[in-house]
Each structure stands twice: as C-alpha cells, then as structure tokens.
C-alpha cells in the first residue's frame, strides 16, 4: 500500500501512504519489565487511545482538536489521564502470584460526559470512570481564614457558593470491581452491544456479567473436563458480536472457533456453529497444533466476518461458512523453517493480535523485528512496515520493508536470521473511522497516520 505519488487520491482510496506521527515512551536501551505495553485500544470515537502495561498502569491519550494556531499538530494524541489500575497480589491459599499486567482494555460506548473503560489482569476486572472537572465551587463561609471549620452556631449568613473555572483536572476512579469469578487466567473481555453486559473469558470458562452487578456472574461456557488429564484444548479469545447481543465467539488452542447463541440455552457448551479449516493429515508435524493455536479473534465492524490470528497467518471467516476461511493472509511464512529455534526460545507461543480498519477493507497485525503487516482485502496487496525511532521524523513516510528468505539478499532487505525476535509487535489498534494506527513496540507506542487522511 505504498502508493506511488498518491496526491489527489480521494479519501477512502485503497492506497495508503503511512507516515510517522508520534512516538511515546522512553528511549532507553534497558527496558523495565513494567513498561512493556500489554494492550492498546481506541474508544468508539477514536478521540481517546488507552494503553495498559505490565506494571498494571493505564495511560489514556486524547486527540487534540485541530486548531488554526497549530496547524501541524493536527490530530496529535497527548496524555489525558494516567492511573494505576491493578496491583500485584499473592493468593496465599493457592500459592499463586497474580500479575498486575493489564491483559485487555475495552471501552464502553459513551453515554454522558464521562468515559468508562474495563481493564483486566489475570483475575480481576475493573470498571473505571474517567471524568473531567473544570469548575470549582468557591465562596463557602464554613471555614475560617486558616481553614478550620467554624462553629455552626456562629454562621449567621447563608452564602451560596459560586462555580468558578479552574484548570482542567481529569480524574479516574474505580466504579466497579468484578473479582473472584475466574480460577484460570483471564485472556479476554468483551462489551456486549446491549451496553449492559459483558463477557470475560479464561482458559476454561467464560462468564457473563452485568455492568452494575459485581457480586454475581453467570457462567456461559465451561470446557473444563471432569478429569484434568483429559484436557486437550483451552479457550484463547472470546468476543461478542457487534450487533447481535445474543451471539459471541470463542477461539481455542487447537485452531477452532465456536459461535454460541445465548438464546439457545443458559450454558453454551454446545456451539451453534463450529469453524475449522480442514488439515492435510500428511503435513501434520509436532508443531502443527502449536502454530494453529488462535491468539486473537475479532469480528468485522459489519458483523458479517470474523478474523483469527494464528502463529503464521491471519484468516478471515464468513460467519455463514464454517468449513474454511474465505481469506488467508501469510504474515511471516519464512518462519516456518525456523520453528525449531522458535520453539526453543518460546517465541512460538507469542500471542499476536489483529485488527480491522473502520470500513473492514484492511487488516493489520504485528510481527518480529518491530515489523507489522497490513493487508488490503480489496486490492489483495500487502505491505510490511517498521516501527522504529530511526524513521521518526514528523510526517516521514514509512518505507515498505522486505524480508529475504533465499540466498541472495538485495539491498534494503533483511535476512530472516538477522531478525530481532525480542522486538515483537503483539498489540496494534486502528482508529474506528480514520486512517490512524497505534502500534505498541515493547515499551514504545507509535502513532502513524495516512498522508491523504
């Protein structure tokens, strides 16, 4: 999608020309574990961008209004609020350390002036309210000049305080804490289109919550076998359908997706639809199941398709066809001949996420060496881009990158063996309406915009 001379292309054209916009985070070589970004999410309008990290902290950025006085900061994201969402805990009963790492953040649709989001670690989900205060009441006659409360009997005049403007203060407060419902580690949360309920999924179970009720949750999927020795697969991701509030999907470590309808029964252990791509048994290897494990599942905005990410590819499924995906996009097929070392260094277990653009015409996912991939579903073109400080001049165009697999390496290509597997892009997000993307590269957050935007 590196359009050659894209000037004059109409908005919404398939040729993107991505440019560097901003980068957030420290430049140090030594990355503190707590600073590693673990989730990135735009809100429904795209005006707010939230990140969660391994240290349990949430940072929210807000897009600046375009102004004539600062034409170059058109749509820049700046810090709006930051708070400690989760803290490390130790479950003494089970001798279990509970990480404070934020696994997922999901925004609620905005209903009033305040913003709400759900953030979760392995065990506990929290509903946070982020509100602005730009007025302060002044003129109370209840206190002396030195601040001491006056004796009520000595106050003889009734004075109504006046609201005066003050510097904007953004406050985050935990409104609900949804705890003690998951024995295993929470991998997903998803807000329902009814705006009243949401689901949380761990390795073996999925629970349904009401946003107002914290002391009760309904179990809707339970795949725990009676005998744990018989365990063959776990739940890896789950999401509600964007429009049908009774439908959700969950993916498994065996590369399958189950679609469930909550109207059919209270416990959705039996699926309504089962999506699995047939496998050629002769090509099966030790690695087959591991690389088929789905790390992320996302419905398209239209609700007609869903996308799954496994270790080497991204697949688009039509909800009406269970037998196989309608599209398969190779992310980094050259890694297939490196699976042995990727197994030894545990990289084969890395969980990459994927996302759709607002119109569902393009999809994006991350890779190694701080590379990320974009696939245009209409033109069938794909591109590899890099998130790097070397290419961080304002509005600098991103040059497509290429990995060379064969012997002869062309200039500007990088060989598979030179890839840095510690530089993983696991989390990316696409603005719901515009061509703005957020890419998390370990402890740095990159924001890129389409030139033609």
């Amino acid at each position: 999608m590196a359009g050659a001379g894209g000037g004059g292309c109409p908005a919404g054209s398939n040729d993107f020309q991505w440019c560097f916009s901003q980068v957030k985070g420290a430049v140090d070589e030594d990355v503190a574990e707590a600073d590693i970004i673990s989730t990135v999410e735009f809100n429904y309008s795209g005006d707010l961008l939230a990140t969660g990290d391994k240290g349990g902290r949430v940072v929210i950025f807000q897009r600046e209004q375009e102004s004539k006085s600062r034409p170059h900061s058109r749509g820049e994201y700046n810090v709006y609020s930051t708070f400690q969402s989760h803290e490390p805990e130790f479950d003494y009963l089970k001798s279990l350390e509970i990480e404070e790492k934020i696994n997922k953040i999901r925004w609620l649709p905005q209903q009033n002036a305040a913003h709400f989001l759900l953030s979760t670690n392995d065990k506990t989900i929290k509903l946070w309210k982020i509100s602005e205060r730009d007025k302060r009441a002044e003129g109370y006659n209840l206190k002396d000049e030195d601040g001491r409360l006056r004796d009520p009997f000595r106050i003889t005049a009734l004075r109504v305080p006046i609201l005066k403007p003050m510097d904007l203060m953004v406050e985050a407060s935990p409104r609900r804490i949804f705890a003690n419902a998951h024995t295993y580690h929470i991998n997903s949360i998803s807000v329902n289109s009814d705006h009243e309920t949401y689901l949380s999924a761990d390795d073996l179970r999925i629970n349904l919550w009401h946003l107002e009720i914290t002391d009760r949750s309904f179990n809707i999927v339970d795949i725990k076998p009676a005998n744990m020795e018989e365990l063959t697969e776990v739940i890896t991701a789950a999401e509600f359908h964007p429009h049908q509030c009774n439908v959700f999907v969950y993916s498994s470590s065996k590369g399958t997706i189950r679609l469930c309808d909550m109207r059919s029964s209270a416990l959705c252990d039996r699926h309504s639809k089962f999506f699995e791509e047939p496998e050629d048994p002769s090509s099966r290897s030790f690695f087959s199941e591991i690389i088929s494990s789905i790390s992320d599942v996302k419905f398209s905005h239209s609700g007609r398709y869903m996308m799954t990410r496994d270790y080497l590819s991204v697949k688009v499924w039509d909800l009406n066809m269970e037998s196989r995906p309608v599209e398969t996009h190779q992310v980094h097929e050259y890694l297939r001949s490196k699976l042995c070392s990727l197994y030894e260094n545990d990289c084969i277990f890395d969980k990459f996420e994927c996302c759709w653009n607002g119109s569902d015409s393009a999809i994006m996912t991350g890779s190694y060496n701080n590379f990320f991939r974009m696939f245009d579903r209409n033109t069938r073109r794909d591109v590899t881009l890099e998130a790097s400080r070397e290419n961080s001049k304002p509005r600098a165009s991103l040059k497509p990158r290429k990995v060379c697999t064969g012997g002869k390496r062309k200039k500007d290509e990088i060989s598979v063996d030179s890839l840095d597997f510690n530089k993983k892009i696991l989390h990316t997000a696409w603005h719901p309406m515009e061509n703005i993307i957020a890419v998390a590269a370990t402890n740095n957050l990159y924001i890129f915009q389409d030139k033609i935007n």
Partner: protein, 96 residues
C-alpha cells in the same frame, strides 16, 4: 533415497527431535496446556516452612544455593527467596 519433498516444518521437527529425543509423545498436548494453566505458581507454603523451622529448632534452615534465583520446589523456600512484588509507584514513561 532422499526425500526431496520434506516440508520445512517436518525438517524442523526432525531437528527438534534430534536435540530432545525424549520430547513428549503427544504433540503440543497436555504438557503445554498444564504449564499454561499453572502460570504464576510459587512454591511458598507457610505450613511447610514453619514446620521445618520448628524441626530444625535453632539450626539454620537450608536455603537455596546462592546461584539459584528461582524457587522450583526442590527445597523449602524462605520468605527471602520469594521475589518481593511491589506495586509500581512510578508513573508510566508513556505519560512522561
């Protein structure tokens, strides 16, 4: 006769099996899943610790060898062995 059409994946599998001949029979099976489900497990049992302390009376409790940084369950850990988890008091550098 050399099999010229071995897939890269099968070649990698052969490499792995050559290095780790005792690797589990079940490919990608329960071992991974159980390891995944047990994430976060630490081996500090206050009961064991206190009983061992009582048995030893005034003697020093055998601690892990200095090189061992991880508590793996083959010795009785002391509270000092466990990594101290403190919440981040530092603001995220993204907000800096």
């Amino acid at each position: 006769m050399e099999d010229k059409v071995t897939s890269p994946e099968k070649a990698e599998e052969a490499k792995l099996k050559a290095r780790y001949p005792h690797l589990g029979q079940k490919p990608g099976g329960s071992d991974f899943l159980r390891k995944r489900l047990q994430k976060g497990q630490k081996y500090f049992d206050s009961g064991d610790y206190n009983m061992a302390k009582a048995k030893m009376k005034n003697k020093q409790l055998p601690t892990a060898a200095p090189e061992k940084t991880e508590v793996t369950g083959d010795h009785i850990p002391t509270p000092q062995d466990l990594p101290q988890r403190k919440p981040s008091l530092v603001t995220s550098k993204l907000a800096g």
